[in-house]
Amino acid sequence: MTATGSESGTRACTVCLHGPLRKLAGGHAELRIEGTTVLELLRELERQHPDLAGWVLDERGRIRRHINVFVDGERGREPTAVAPGVRVEVLPAITGG
């Protein structure tokens, strides 16, 4: 599915979702979301798609331990700054047993 979202202007980033997160985001694999940090992007993502609440961020506002976020290929954390137009991947980590 192509990128969508309420913000599609030049300030927006492309957020890419995988696994069950796509279904919770209404079937979208990519969304155009505005924000200046990874945390702002993820909060806005939850606001637009409430079914995602609690799946990527926990109650403390932290990215869950086994979720990885990459900003244009570099590992990002909550305060990581995001420039307009970057690609943000939200991926399950390598874990389990």
Partner: protein, 355 residues
């Protein structure tokens, strides 16, 4: 026909079968995900599952048909913006009113639902306990694993937290108080018990429904009984090969009954001498009798976790079922007199509920 709802390290399984025989796997759900606890509400027929995805965090889901679409329940979370996050759902239990359901989790939290498990809210009385910052987790985290209702009286409730001990409420959970008198852990010096926050690692608690002031407790080394609704506890583990273990169940028809599955010790959590035995008391812990006809009798070093022992029926019709982390599931259709292998190649079993 008996139904077993089984939570495993790799999904939820629903099995059907006749007591005393092998069961058939009827459905699997949440493939690959840990199911710490799953059950079916006998009042509504609704299935509820506590799913702790290692990626996406703990959730409760519900469905009427395990093979159909499961819905995520709302409200299973701690307050936003705090310093703690919900780690796991350990147990789901039915309240004493229509639609009332409880869930216990880590970090030592109780949720309640008034609509059969669709929406939940955190029990504020327990969450706001002033001593909470001093509560100590056990090896499995700060888990609230036992929710013990009082038959016919929704005001009275008991919960157990590893390792914050037993808690009682007489006002539907609005306020709570400790109830640990007589519990003497071997892993602490006696002087340490003067501190009310000394870690008390309760493993499982059950109430005798025909005499609800009677409770049985499997402790982290020790089995205890209370005859006064949890105010005081008496050790009843003499006569067992070990008083260490996790699960415990009872025969609802007999207030003097309890069943335990001893493990060697906290440093060796397997069945003693390579033999799987359930121990039964019918005199409130004065004596214990091994029940193992049909269970593995040699080279069987199994671990049975706290939610993996269940019952249905009572008296002569009592059925008992337990699962091990080996993926083996055993059952008895005659109150423990004889046993059969119900399933033998499931993933590591976390919980068993017989319906």
């Amino acid at each position: 026909m008996t139904e077993l709802v089984v939570g495993t390290k790799k999904g939820l399984f629903v099995l059907n079968g006749e007591p005393g025989s092998e069961f058939e796997v009827m459905a699997r759900a949440f493939d690959g995900q840990p199911i710490d606890f799953a059950t079916r509400d006998p009042r509504s027929g609704r299935l509820l599952a506590g799913v702790t995805s290692p990626f996406y965090g703990p959730k409760i889901f519900y469905a009427d048909d395990p093979a159909a679409e499961w819905e995520q329940a709302d409200g299973v979370a701690l307050p936003e913006g705090g310093e703690q996050a919900l780690e796991r759902i350990w147990v789901i239990a039915w309240g004493e009113e229509d639609g009332l359901v409880y869930a216990g989790g880590d970090p030592g939290v109780l949720f309640e639902s008034h609509d059969g498990g669709r929406t939940w809210e955190l029990n504020a009385g327990l969450w706001e306990q002033p001593s909470r910052p001093h509560w100590q987790p056990g090896g499995g985290g700060l888990c609230l694993h036992s929710i013990v209702t009082w038959p016919g009286d929704p005001e009275r409730l008991a919960v157990a937290v590893s390792a914050a001990g037993m808690w009682l409420s007489e006002d539907r959970g609005a306020t709570w108080r400790r109830s640990n008198a007589g519990i003497a852990p071997r892993y602490l010096p006696e002087e340490a018990l003067a501190d009310e926050n000394a870690g008390l690692c309760v493993h499982h608690v059950e109430r005798a429904p025909r005499r609800p002031e009677r409770l049985f407790m499997q402790f982290h080394g020790g089995i205890f009984r209370s005859d006064d609704a949890g105010e005081n506890w008496t050790a009843i583990g003499d006569g067992l090969p070990s008083d260490f273990g996790f699960p415990l169940t009872i025969d609802p028809a007999d207030p003097d009954s309890a069943f335990v599955i001893p493990l060697v010790a906290d440093m060796d959590r397997v069945t003693p001498e390579g033999r799987v035995l359930v121990y039964e008391t019918r005199d409130a812990g004065e004596s214990w009798t091994p029940r193992g006809d049909g269970l593995p009798a040699e080279h069987a070093y199994l671990t049975v976790l706290r939610q993996a022992f269940s019952r249905t029926g009572e008296g002569e019709g009592l059925e008992l079922y337990f699962g091990a982390t080996s993926g083996e599931l055993f059952g008895s259709g005659d109150a423990g007199g004889s046993w059969a292998t119900v399933a033998s190649r499931l993933p590591p079993i976390y919980s068993v509920v017989a319906v």
